[in-house]
């Protein structure tokens, strides 16, 4: 139980750190760099819906910090409807599932985000770190 609490604290702190270190776009949101986007018509390249996704991701992170994990996931799903190839969505959702103790789901969702984060090292790193924590919890269980 104590170990679980420790993990949660470490994990939450690491997220605050990540949130602070993530490159901030002029509008204040966080998006992976788009210069390495692969597909010819990639939504990441397309700035059309960027502001909407940034706003939703900001809200989702805020609810995550406020421990309103279900609400955070609902907002993340809204972002997913606009652009489901945004890796940060899966990072948020996986961290919410982790906090809710749904480790298998957290692992799956983080795994889904990982291939989408090839252009954003920070998100990729966070997803990998999260996966390590999640898998440790799954083994513990």
């Amino acid at each position: 139980m104590k170990a679980g609490l420790q993990y949660t604290i470490i994990f939450t702190l690491s997220f605050f750190l990540v949130a602070a270190c993530t490159p901030v776009t002029p509008s204040g949101g966080r998006l992976p760099s788009s210069d390495q986007a692969i597909t010819s018509n990639s939504p990441i390249k397309d700035p059309a819906s960027k502001d909407a996704v940034i706003k939703l991701l900001e809200d989702a992170w805020r609810y995550n910090r406020e421990r309103q994990h279900d609400r955070s996931n609902t907002v993340a799903e809204r972002a997913m409807r606009i652009n489901h190839s945004e890796a940060e969505i899966y990072l948020i959702m996986a961290s919410n599932y982790f906090s809710l103790g749904q480790f298998s789901l957290a692992e799956q969702v983080a795994s889904k985000g990982l291939p989408l984060a090839t252009d954003n090292k920070l998100i990729k790193k966070n997803l990998n770190q999260l996966l390590v924590l999640v898998r440790a919890k799954i083994i513990q269980e």
């Binding site: 692969i38 010819s40 990639s42 909407a52 609810y63 809204r78 997913m80 959702m93 799956q108 795994s111």
Partner: protein
């Protein structure tokens, strides 16, 4: 003498005794009546009180569409936003000033949203402006000119799940009802409402005199309380005893409850119309039924019409008897004016207004989308009891997109008619079913279960289980490619005649569609060109258990027969089952259950259940990359290549055609980066058609995809996959092709055509990517 006296006294005593016993009998009778009356009144009182304080009605559950999210960059024309607003019952005005109104200029739409309590947050009512550039929203601003990143409109009601009595109602609080409605009701139905104690002797006398004068019953003396008692507790019988009971209950009701409580219940109880077999009860539902607006937004002339309908919703039906309804409405306005609740000027102004009712078709919103509603009900039954769904007044929010549904239905109708006339198919015989899913989230956004829009019958999208033909082939190639040491996209396989002995001793000899064999071909070509002999051979090589396992992991849940014919799609599936399978492919090997419902709220708007996003990795990302390459070959050069005659070449799409024996079924399942569509065509009587997957279902699929806001599929090279130029023939580097290989399965460098890629013969794939 003494004897005489004794006799007299005896007779007197006899009389006294007789009197006493009569008196006692009378007393006993009185006491009995009193006790019986008291018991009766107590019973009635308990009944009246209990029903009024308990759950008053069996409330139907209402099903809502998705909320329309609005943001800069959204592909949405001004006309479509207008359509959505009108479907939601927004009124077009010169300048939007109140919730539920909008105004339009050439480049923009200004609208005052109603606000809505969503699962994640409350969206308050606000005045906003959407600015358009072509068919896109180029900006979104609030009333102060500040930029809004994203906002959403409230979802629309698309249907309901009704109690067995088919009463439809939406509850409304008295303080949410326009004051003119309550005033109109009191003026026309019961002017002494605030003065009487349940029954009005003045009203009864007035009615009595009117009835005597006319010689028939022309007027009722019932108060609003009595009417409520009649509708809420009793039946329609017009007997004296029932009238007496009604009066008693009305008085009891008035003793226990306030006038406001009685009026609120009346406003929610009263019968106000009929829509098919659905009875419209209460003013909120009636307001939606007649005006497609919430009751709080109604104006005087509208509330007067509704109040007038109380007397006889059928007799004054504004669609069937507009003149009668107009006269009744104007009478209500006159009575209100005479009673002094509105001014004469207001009454005159309201009287010149038209009825302004919505069209009868749009008032039947619940009948518009039965195909999708069936799916919702089916998914709900996995969690909720039918009785709860019919009576608990649940608010069910779905992923249904009415704009996409409308487009799909329109395309289905047109394409079917075109195919029937083009191929000489007997008119009305060709059928179709389509399912549209949002890729990634697995949200089902539209379902068309019949060629006719809004058909409420056999839902082919969910229930027509037909052989899937070659659409099953990706599962076989997946099973093979999961063994990179044995199979790559460039592995050669023989497309020549094959015979397989089945368990029952039969010989299975599949043939290619064109009855032509193609010799030794690479795997990607077998999939892309849908060669049956090559695929059957591959399937038998990897083994039926591996193929079955692959189909199951893709998301098919029914038992599968271990038959070789399975390899060419003898297995029967419904379009939605096939959509589940293809969604796993579109989502790069992650299985997510297809979801029609997003969340469920109680009648009191308390969140009950959220149908969250789930994902489970069923296939390796590298293998999925290879299979998605193969499915792009289908559309670039294979059996689905006609797609790019009408769709933009830079849009990455993947999919697979399917045709069954004698062309009884025509399938196409394919996806872009954000939408997956599965289309089936065929005949209900299972007769032959002249259609293949490419000439039938694919055409409709293209029609549908043209209508959607598509993005290229996300086709990112995962770690552990490398691309190489390889020869498409066995000799040298003739027509080199750029193919993905899982690390460890790369072609021998001596066979690689890397140095030959300056020949100018670059395939479509390398033109699109720069790896």
């Amino acid at each position: 003498m003494i004897q005489k006296i004794v006799k007299k006294s005896r007779s007197k005593s006899k009389i006294n005794n007789k009197d006493n016993s009569r008196l006692a009998w009378i007393w006993r009778t009185i006491v009995f009546i009193l006790v019986a009356t008291t018991i009766f009144l107590v019973i009635v009182d308990v009944f009246v009180y209990k029903k009024f304080t308990g759950k008053k009605w069996s409330l139907p559950s209402h099903v809502y569409s998705r909320p329309l999210e609005l943001y800069q960059g959204l592909s949405l024309s001004r006309q479509l936003l207008e359509w959505e607003l009108q479907e939601l019952g927004y009124k077009k005005v010169d300048a939007a000033k109140a919730p539920g109104q909008f105004s339009v200029s050439e480049q923009s739409v200004e609208f005052f949203s109603r606000g809505f309590e969503f699962w994640d947050e409350r969206e308050p009512p606000k005045l906003m402006m959407a600015i358009f550039a072509g068919d896109k929203i180029s900006g979104l601003k609030d009333s102060h000119g500040r930029v809004i990143a994203i906002t959403r409109l409230e979802p629309m009601i698309i249907g309901g799940i009704y109690p067995s009595r088919k009463e439809d109602r939406q509850l409304v609080k008295l303080d949410k009802v326009p004051s003119t409605l309550a005033a109109a009701l009191i003026a026309i139905e019961d002017q002494d409402f605030y003065r009487h104690q349940g029954i009005s002797f003045k009203g009864i006398t007035r009615a009595f005199l009117a009835n005597i004068t006319e010689g028939k019953i022309v007027q009722g003396g019932s108060t609003i309380t009595q009417q409520l008692v009649k509708n809420f507790y009793l039946n329609e019988k017009r007997t004296l005893s029932r009238k007496a009971l009604e009066a008693i209950m009305a008085v009891l009701l008035e003793i226990h409850f306030t006038k406001q409580e009685i009026l609120e219940t009346y406003i929610n109880e009263v019968y106000l119309g009929q829509s098919g077999d659905r009875a419209i009860h209460g003013f909120e539902m009636a307001s939606n039924h007649y005006f497609n607006q919430p009751v709080k937004e109604l104006q005087l002339h509208q509330t007067a019409l509704l109040a007038g309908l109380v007397k006889g919703a059928s007799f004054y039906n504004p669609w069937r008897h507009p003149k009668r309804a107009l006269n009744r409405r104007n009478l209500v306005l006159d009575v209100m004016s005479l009673a002094g609740v509105i001014s004469r000027v207001d009454a005159m102004t309201a009287k010149v207004k038209p009825l302004a009712i919505t069209s009868p078709i749009s008032s039947r919103g619940h009948l518009k989308y039965p195909s999708y509603l069936t799916l919702v009900k089916r998914q709900l039954r996995q969690t909720y009891k039918q009785s709860d769904l019919q009576t608990a007044g649940l608010r069910i929010f779905t992923n249904f997109d009415p704009q996409i549904q409308r487009k799909v239905e329109d395309r289905v109708t047109k394409r079917i008619e075109k195919l029937e006339s083009g191929y000489g198919i007997e008119t009305g015989k060709l059928q179709s079913a389509s399912v549209i899913v949002r890729v990634g989230s697995g949200e089902v956004v539209a379902v068309a279960g019949d060629r006719k829009p809004g058909f409420d019958g056999f839902n082919r999208a969910l229930d027509a289980r037909r052989p899937v033909g070659s659409t099953i082939k990706p599962a076989i190639y997946l099973a093979a490619l999961e063994n990179p040491e044995s199979y790559t996209l460039n592995s050669k396989i023989e497309d020549i005649s094959i015979s397989v002995s089945t368990e029952n001793g039969d010989i299975w000899q599949p043939r290619n569609f064109g009855r032509k064999s193609h010799g030794l071909i690479p795997l990607y070509k077998g999939l892309g060109y849908s060669y049956n002999q090559a695929t059957a051979r591959l399937g038998m090589n990897v083994g039926l258990p591996a193929v079955i396992d692959s189909i199951k992991r893709l998301g098919y849940s029914r038992p599968l027969p271990r038959l070789p014919s399975l390899l060419l799609g003898s297995i029967e599936m419904s379009p939605i089952e096939l959509a589940q399978i293809y969604h796993t492919i579109a989502a790069n090997g992650f299985y997510s259950p297809l979801r029609a419902i997003s969340s469920v709220f109680t009648a009191e708007n308390i969140p009950l259940k959220r149908y969250r996003f789930e994902a489970e990795q069923r296939f390796d990302a590298r293998v999925m990359h290879l299979i998605n390459y193969g499915l792009q070959v289908v559309l670039r050069e294979g059996t689905g290549k006609s797609a790019y005659q009408r769709l933009p070449e830079d849009l990455l799409l993947a999919g697979k055609t399917g045709t069954t024996n004698d062309q009884r079924d025509s399938w196409f399942a394919g996806f872009s980066g954000n939408y997956l569509s599965v289309v089936w065509m065929g005949r209900d009587d299972n007769e032959k058609t002249p259609l293949t997957g490419g000439s039938g279902a694919l055409r409709l699929w293209i029609d549908i995809m043209i209508e959607l806001e598509n993005r290229s599929l996300v086709f990112q090279k995962p770690d552990g996959v490398n691309y190489y130029w390889v020869s498409s023939s066995q000799n040298g580097c003739h027509k080199p092709r750029y193919l993905p290989f899982i690390a460890g399965s790369e072609p021998d460098k001596r066979e690689s055509c890397a140095s030959k890629n300056d020949t100018g013969i670059l395939d479509w794939f390398s033109r699109n990517f720069d790896w």
